[in-house]
Subunit: 364 residues, 2 copies
DNA sequence: CTGAAAGCGCTAACAC
DNA sequence: GTGTTAGCGCTTTCAG
């Protein structure tokens, strides 16, 4: 029996619910649910009436109720070891754009602090709260990675690799190597690396790979020096970078060039050098990695990566996985390129200009 | 009758629910709910057993179910006209810290695009999804402000004022005025302002106030010029700032100083001047507003504001309102201070150094 | 202090 | 195609 059409006030409370829409349209609530869900077929005349009722009542379904009833959340969880870094903000932004336009919300899980990370992995308090997960980086602990896998949710990794998992990343070893090689080609021999300290959060994949690239490039010098001697550890972020670089330049044996693991650290180094009255690139060259928004502003030479696109790509892969969970995992490698600006120059006048084929320059 | 203690597998599905906890603890689900809620009194021995069961099962309540049942969401909505700006990221971060530590989640509503804004205000699709709202800025349209008020939710405004609403903000007029006055005291007479274009989103409160401060300072010059002549409009953000400043400096009558409405624009201006080979502060001085993370790095003189604290303060006020809805609205004004760095200097050699009592300098 | 039971608003079989 | 009817997991009267 068709419920009577009674366009009165909402049944209870002051907000229209699916019951009110059904009543106004003269159909059952399941029919309303069907036109809302857009999956089941509904007679177009009926759908029309329902749509009009929805319009008239300005009805919007309560997500909490749908989640409870359906198990689907239309939400993607993002787990990161930081929320404040430039890189994180930008990949999240990229992912947000594509996911949002497909009707998905983002739920950020910041595992910066160890206790947050432990709580997260202990309770796995993400299951049934999201439909899929993007992990920005990966914990070092393989058990935690396994825990992530056994969540049973579509999973995309950003900035790291793991067998059997879909991932989007740059080649960190190569990116770091090319940065250091460039400095070497410019004639530098004492090259320090500014790098994140392993602060016990156990989230060091990228850092380790970049140190590896640094070591590989220096090894080609075969000068018998211990490359790790010149690795300076810093807390993450610009301010910490200033401090770390200051400490570095206060040592008796100053390097002639600094490779910073990522641009925020490089920007900090530039600031420190400025404060110490060390000329850049006259006395010390600096190279970074990311192509931070401000890199151009301070003329920082850097290895660029398409951060925003990396995030967007991860979002798209999540959508693919959501559409077909049995999809084969893929490892997408996004390209990096060296952008030569004014913070680096030849250390020795007689050094040959670099002729490496992999050096591509661009600037916007 | 007490349900039998049966520590078997979860009732259904693979996740423990409140039923499983109740069974394990040998109590009813209402008792479990009570210890979860922390409001009702429960016999401490009972509570202990429930807690142990929760521990053993690694149980975490499903928020969607609680929301549906209780109407409380433990979520605060933040509406902003942008998500990417430095200012927005930082106030959101500040609010997040205090709200998160009180168990609240944040739900971001980005009303950057007009259609997003219209949809938002049309459906008010935030009611029953959040317990309170923080509005970063306010729409120009008073009807929309009214709509916000009639949401019936605790509301805190960040960066703008409205009668009867709790707010946290700097004095934009004064901040802008002091920046321009400083330039004037330095001997500048042709001072341009770089400012956000009213892009039709109708969210221009701060911009208008800052232009007002700029005008007031210039009026003190009483040189008969039309101050609006030197207001240059820009899209928001660093890159747009570069373009706008480039356009400005390409005009026949270049200013000797630029006041940028906020630091990202000022940073863009510095970049543009660098590209155009205009010496800073030799030929042109630049002053901003915010004290952006990178302001120190590029030696930008600016009017600092405690952005992170502003966000945290808004969070705290929301919490207060949540605890007592009848609390009287307050308008908190946070202080700003001029930070003199290297991007500004005396325009005329014979100009007196500024002796204004309100000039406070600091640098970290 | 604790248990029973009635929903919160919606989806998903299952009938018709 | 459309309606009926169980729940989804939790909170909250209301008894006791």
């Amino acid at each position: 029996m068709v419920p009577p059409v009674s366009p009165g006030p909402p049944s209870r409370g002051k907000h229209a619910s699916i019951v009110d829409v059904a009543a106004l349209a003269g159909v059952s609530i399941s029919t309303v649910s069907r036109v809302l869900g857009e999956r089941a077929r509904v007679h177009s005349a009926t759908r029309q009436r329902v749509l009009e009722a929805i319009q008239a009542l300005k009805y919007v379904a309560l997500p909490h109720a749908s989640v409870l009833a359906s198990g689907r959340t239309r939400t993607v969880g993002i787990i990161t070891p930081s929320m404040t870094g430039w890189y994180f903000g930008n990949v999240i932004g990229g992912a947000w754009e594509v996911l949002h336009s497909s009707g998905y919300d983002l739920q950020l899980h910041n595992l910066a602090r160890p206790e947050a990370r432990d709580r997260f992995f202990d309770r796995m308090s993400i299951v049934r709260r999201v439909d899929a997960v993007i992990s920005v980086g990966l914990p070092d602990d393989q058990e935690l990675v396994t825990a992530l896998r056994t969540l049973g949710l579509p999973l995309v990794v950003l900035g790291a690799r793991a067998p059997g998992l879909t991932s989007v990343a740059i080649d960190d070893v190569k990116a770091a190597r090319s940065a250091v090689r460039y400095l070497i080609h410019q004639g530098h021999r004492r090259i320090a690396m500014l790098s994140d300290r392993d602060d016990g959060t156990g989230w060091t994949t990228a850092t380790r790979a970049r140190r590896q690239g640094y070591r590989e490039a220096l090894a080609e010098l075969a000068d018998g020096r211990d490359p790790d001697h010149d690795v300076v550890e810093s807390e993450p972020g610009y301010d910490a970078g200033v401090r770390a670089a200051t400490a570095l330049m206060t040592r008796p044996d100053r390097p002639s060039a600094i490779f910073a693991e990522y641009d925020e650290l490089a920007l900090g180094a530039l600031r420190a050098l400025h404060l110490l009255d060390v000329a850049v690139p006259g006395q010390v060259s600096v190279i970074g990695l990311d192509d931070h928004t401000m890199a151009g502003a301070v003329d920082l030479t850097t290895v660029a990566r398409p951060v925003h696109e990396e995030g967007a790509l991860a979002g798209r892969l999540v959508l693919d996985l959501l559409a077909d969970r049995s999809r084969e995992p893929v490892d997408v490698t996004v390209p990096t390129r060296l952008i030569i600006r004014g913070s680096t120059n030849s250390h020795q006048q007689d050094a040959e200009p670099s002729g490496t084929q992999s050096l591509i320059t661009f600037d916007r």
